[in-house]
Symmetry: C2
Subunit: 324 residues, 2 copies
Amino acid sequence: MQKIIGYISVIEDALKATTQKTEPSTLYEPITYTLNLGGKRIRPALLLLANNLFGGQDEDALNAALAIEVFHNFTLVHDDIMDDAPLRRGKDSVYKKWGSNVAILSGDVMLMHAMQLLNKKDHPHLHNVLTLFNTTAIEVCEGQQMDMDFETSSTVCIDDYLKMIELKTAVLLAASLKIGAVLAEASEENAKHIYEFGRNLGIAFQLMDDVLDLYGDPDKVGKRVGGDVISNKKTYLLLKAQELATGKTAKDLEFCLSSKVIDDNTKVERVTTIFNSLNIKKIAVDEMNLFYNTAISHLDSIDAPADKKQVFENFAKSLMKREN
Amino acid sequence: MQKIIGYISVIEDALKATTQKTEPSTLYEPITYTLNLGGKRIRPALLLLANNLFGGQDEDALNAALAIEVFHNFTLVHDDIMDDAPLRRGKDSVYKKWGSNVAILSGDVMLMHAMQLLNKKDHPHLHNVLTLFNTTAIEVCEGQQMDMDFETSSTVCIDDYLKMIELKTAVLLAASLKIGAVLAEASEENAKHIYEFGRNLGIAFQLMDDVLDLYGDPDKVGKRVGGDVISNKKTYLLLKAQELATGKTAKDLEFCLSSKVIDDNTKVERVTTIFNSLNIKKIAVDEMNLFYNTAISHLDSIDAPADKKQVFENFAKSLMKREN
């Protein structure tokens, strides 16, 4: 993991230097604020790591890594408006601090700045990298729209949900890895495998998130257990339970979701009992393992030295909080 | 003008074919709606015209022309949220029809789609075209931010105002022309002149807009005379009057701007009298002519056959509603 931590620090330093413009300050202050809010910088670090795996030069890939991070932060700035979210990483969101107009326009400029960073130098892979980036950026928006649509839809199925988390989260992780690979002139086959490693890992990670919300150790998860249940969030667990429940169980579940009478703790307790009776946790963990193992098998298929690939497997394990 | 009209029809047809995606419909319906709302399609037509001036192939430039139009429409979708505008081209704005969340995300996808169109094919000028486009896109946002800042600022001067209209309007016209030229492999000198033709013409056009709001024939202008005065909009006329007015005139002007007592018609009448006493109309028209003539002198400097350049001068004249 030492290597990833090294890259994260390179990215932190480069991010500080990337926004040189300052006027109009109403536009650029929120951008600097956002980029300095912190964050794990996982995506750009993976881009650099993938670039290094295939023998690329870090400095060529650094602008692309910054582009990915600026893009990711753009999505957060706009998502916070759409989700009416006052907080981001424990501080005021741009939306809360400056209002939605500033958040819209600063976000727009961040997206444009990401494009600028990708296009900073001319190189033979520019067209391919931009094609992948643009496609991915649009997919991320589609995922966000699906997520918003789900809130008011009563016909969401497991396949829709998996598609949504793939688009909203997994493809950007996948594209980050692939861009790093393409810039290092990796073979098409290798670039495809590293993309699939990221895509499957991203989906597995989101499924784990759903499981941990209800079944995680509250001290480790760092938030209230059952938050998704309380807010009726259409997670993998709930959708699978709705798919499997019949008769009285289905009615009980429906009651818990729609009742305005039962308190939050009772709701979490009763829904958990229903989930347990349907074996939902095991089904979700099995599904997660399927994606995780597919990710690892794509990693195995990459034609590169095993010791250089080990850091990706270690990362995958740490992301899934797996000790094994 | 026949040539421009021909290009506009090519663009209308191509725009209809450009958004093939339809799902999620909550994301793509507003995009199709926006692109079908009409509009003069001036910018993409000028891009094709500039491309043709330097012997380029229309089909290569068409994607770039569409990109410019999609980008322009993206700015309108986001501007309408920021301006709380219910109408766009006489119909419901996306913001009014679907709400701000849909307008934010659809707008984001339109911006990304513009990038996709610019990057549709690989070509030797990709890096240069993208550099110009990205710089321009950011400038347009800076112009919009300055415009919003002006609403609450009491220290706006004429130079700030000229900078704002340059960024918000003129640079996109200029970049459209230059991208057409670059794609046709025009010399750097020629590309520079056509950019400056567009930039100066764009500024002249905005100044004319300010003059016509108060001094135009209401039948021809198509809106209420003095709308800018009624809303205290910081136009060239008002800023110049504030700069020149002293003593009683300055106090009168200040009274008109801040009084909640006088009705709209009296306000327009009194402000017009003040403007006339300060010779504001002539000063504004002189400034406009300065930019217009600079535009034409850049057009004259372009090394291309005079008869092929004539259509640009005719366009400039028609844009300025000049009959001479």
